[in-house]
Symmetry: C2
Subunit: 399 residues, 2 copies
C-alpha cells in the first residue's frame, strides 16, 4: 500500500476559537434591537455586535482616526498577539510606533467584519432568538453591509470624520465602498490590491472554495457544530486553492521551484515530495485552526456580489461624483488576483469624478500577498500619502 | 434555512466506465509477463495492456504513422464517439478527412496512457496477481513510463519510425519525451501548450486537486471501489480547480463576466447565482462520470515529476543533442498554465542542440484550452508543418 500523507486531524484551537466568537478578548460594541443593521438582503439584523481593536490615541479634535478594513481571512488583530494562534498581528509591518500607520500619530481602529468569526456577529455566533448557533440561518451579507456596520461602530466611538480608511484586498473593497457611501466622513482613503467588483475568475476561485467546504460531509449542511463535526478537510482544500492565488508564479518559483522536501530523489508516492506541496498542506491545516467554515462561505460570497458601479447604472465614476476624499490606489505588478488593470479602472473612474487620486504600481514578484509582506516601497508610499493627507488635515500640529 | 445547491449525486456512467477499464471497446495490445514495462520507480509491470484507436490507413512503406498523445484527462477516443459519455471525440477538429491531421493521408494512432482508466492498465484495472483492483497498490508512473509503453505498442503495430508525434499539455510532454528517448524513431514532432518540466505553480494546482480527492471520505485510502463508494465530490472539486487553470481570465470574462444565471437579481444565497458558478459545477459533475479518481492522482503526479533536463544534469539541450527530428512548438498568448516562456525555453534548448525547430505563439484569449478549441491559426500551422514534414518524408507520393 502506498504511503499517503494528508491533512492532520481535527483543529487544535477549536475551543479558543469558539470562545472568541461570542466572547472575544477584544472590546465589543453591542447594538440592541433598537439599532438594527439594515442588510442589503432586506433583513434587519438585531441585536448584533462588532469586536474591534484600537491602537494609539484619539486626539482632542478627533481628527486622527484611521479605520483599517481587514481582508477575507483577516480580523481585528492588526498589531497585537492573536488570541487563537498566538502569532503576531497580521499588519505589524504597517501599524505601530514609527510605522507607516504610526500609532504615535494616529488613532487606529480595526474591527472584525460582520459575518466574521472573531467576535463580530456571524454564522458562528449564537442567534439570540433561538439560543442556537446561526449557521446558514444567518442572512447573507455584502461588502456595503460590512461597511454600514463599521460606520455604526465609528458613531459609537464618537468619531464624525475618519482621517483615513485603509485596506487591502477585501479590505480595499470596503475602503472604496466606505468612501462611496460616506464621502463626507472620509478625509482620505488608501485602497490596496483591490477592485470595485469581483472578476469572473475570482468568482470561480471562490466558488471552488465553497464547493470544497460543502463537499466535506462534515460540513453537514452548515450545521457541523451541532454534530461535533468540523469540515476542516474541505476548508483546508479551499484555503490551499486561495493561497495559490495569493502568490505569483514567480514567487512560487523563487520560494520553492521544483525543490524536494528533505530529500533529493522522488519517493514515487503521494507524499509531499516537493516543498511547494508541503507548504500548501501547512497553509491549509493551519488556517482551519482559526477560521469558521461558514464564515468563509459568507465572506467569499460578499466579495463575489461586490460591484460598486451596479448601484450607479454601471457607471463607476457616478459612485464617486464630486467626492472630496483624497485617494491613493496601489497595485502590485505580480498580483494576478487583483491585477493593475483593476486599479487603473478605479483611478480612471476617480479621475472622471474629478477626485484627487494618486496611483502607484509597485514592482514585486510577491503576488497579491505583497500587501501583507515586507515591501519597503509600499511602506514608503503609504507613509508619504498619510503624511501629505495629514498636513492637509492639520495633523502635524496634533502631535 | 438557506437553500444550498451543490454537486449532483453518484456518477451516472459508473457501470460503463468500469467496463471500459478492463474490457474496453477499443482494440487492446496485451503484453505478457515476458514483456514487462520497466517503470522509473524500479518496478517491472507485467502483464499490462494498452488500449488504442487508429484512424486512416498505414501506407505500404509504413511511413505515414502519427502518434497522438492525449492530455491529463483525455483518452484514445480522439475522433470517434466516446463509449462512456456518448460525446464526440476530443480532437475531432484536428483529426479526420481533410483536417490538419488528415486521415486520408496519415495513419493516426492514439492510445490511453498507462495509469489511465479507459482500457490501458492503471489503478482502476484488476491486478492479475490478486484478482482485486490495483488502487494505490499500482506503482507510480512517470511521463517516460507512458512513452515507453507506447513505444512497445508502436513495435507491436510494426512501425519502426513515426512520421510525427503530436500532443498538447501532458500530450506535448510525452511528444517531447518521445523524441528525446527515441530520436531515431520520430521524424517530426508537434508539441503544443506544454513544457519540459512542471512549474511550482502547476505542481501546487495538482497538489490541490489531489488533496481534494483524498479529503473526500469516500476516497477511503484509494480503495473506494471495495466499499461501493465513489469520491465524486472530491474529484469534482479537483476538476473545478483544474478547469479554472485551463481558461484565461479574459475567456472567463468574455464567456460569463458577472452575468447571473437565469435571473437578474442576486438570490442572497449560496445558489449558483453567477453563470460562471453554474458552469464550473457542471464541469465538476460531468467529469466524475467518466474518470477514475485514483487515475487522476497518478497522472497528475506523473506530470509533476516530469523534468527532461533532470536526466541530463539540468541541461535541457543535452536531451536533444544532434537530434534529426523536425520540431514545431506552439503556445497560446493567454495560456497561463503553460505560458509562452515555457515554449521559448524548449525552442532555445532545441536551437542549442542544433535541432530543426519552428515556433508559433498564437494570439487568442482562450487560455490553455485553446489547443482543444476552434482556433483556425493553430489548425493552419499544424497543417502546414505536417505538409512540409511530409514532403521531406516523401509522403506526397504516398497518397
Amino acid at each position: 500500500m502506498m504511503n499517503v500523507q494528508s491533512f492532520p486531524g481535527a483543529a487544535l484551537h477549536s475551543e479558543e476559537r469558539a470562545r472568541e466568537v461570542d466572547h472575544p478578548s477584544s472590546p465589543v460594541a453591542r447594538f440592541g434591537v433598537d439599532q438594527p443593521l439594515r442588510l442589503d438582503c432586506g433583513v434587519d439584523l438585531a441585536p448584533f455586535q462588532i469586536a474591534y481593536q484600537t491602537y494609539g490615541r484619539l486626539n482632542a479634535d478627533r481628527s486622527n482616526a484611521i479605520l483599517i478594513f481587514h481582508a477575507l481571512t483577516g480580523d481585528q488583530h492588526v498589531a497585537n498577539i492573536h488570541p487563537v494562534t498566538g502569532k503576531a498581528g497580521w499588519w505589524e509591518t504597517m501599524v505601530g510606533p514609527g510605522r507607516p500607520l504610526d500609532t504615535d500619530r494616529y488613532f487606529i481602529i480595526c474591527s472584525n467584519v460582520i459575518g466574521g468569526c472573531m467576535g463580530s456577529t456571524g454564522p458562528a455566533s449564537t442567534n439570540p432568538a433561538t439560543g442556537k448557533l446561526w449557521g446558514l440561518d444567518f442572512p447573507l451579507i455584502t461588502i456595503p453591509d460590512m461597511v454600514r456596520a463599521q460606520a455604526m461602530l465609528i458613531d459609537r466611538l464618537g468619531i464624525e470624520t475618519l482621517f483615513c480608511v485603509v485596506g487591502g484586498s477585501m479590505g480595499g473593497m470596503q475602503a472604496l465602498q466606505c468612501t462611496a457611501a460616506y464621502p463626507d466622513r472620509v478625509f482620505s482613503a488608501l485602497a490596496v490590491a483591490c477592485s470595485t467588483r469581483h472578476s469572473a475568475q475570482n468568482i470561480a476561485f471562490h466558488e471552488l472554495g465553497r464547493q470544497a467546504v460543502m463537499a466535506d460531509p462534515d460540513w453537514r449542511g452548515g450545521r457541523y457544530f451541532e454534530h461535533g463535526a468540523d469540515p476542516h478537510r474541505g476548508l483546508g482544500v479551499a484555503r490551499m486553492a486561495a493561497h495559490i492565488t495569493y502568490l505569483s508564479d514567480a514567487a512560487l518559483h523563487r520560494k520553492f521551484g521544483r525543490r524536494m522536501q528533505d530529500r533529493d530523489l522522488p519517493t514515487f508516492s503521494f507524499d509531499a515530495d516537493f516543498q511547494v506541496e508541503s507548504y500548501l498542506r501547512y497553509q491549509g491545516s493551519s488556517f482551519v485552526e482559526r477560521f469558521d467554515a461558514n464564515s468563509y462561505l459568507y465572506l467569499t460570497r460578499a466579495m463575489d456580489y461586490f460591484d460598486i458601479a451596479a448601484d450607479h447604472k454601471g457607471v463607476l465614476a457616478e459612485a464617486f461624483r464630486d467626492i472630496k476624499t483624497r485617494f491613493c490606489v496601489v497595485s502590485f505588478t505580480s498580483d494576478w488576483l487583483f491585477p493593475t488593470a483593476e486599479a487603473r479602472a478605479i483611478v480612471h473612474a476617480l479621475n472622471a469624478s474629478s477626485a484627487r487620486v494618486s496611483f502607484a504600481e509597485i514592482e514585486t514578484d510577491k503576488g497579491h500577498d505583497a500587501f501583507l509582506l515586507d515591501v519597503p516601497e509600499f511602506f514608503e508610499i503609504s507613509r508619504a500619502f498619510l503624511h501629505s493627507a495629514g498636513l492637509a488635515r492639520g495633523l502635524s500640529r496634533a502631535r
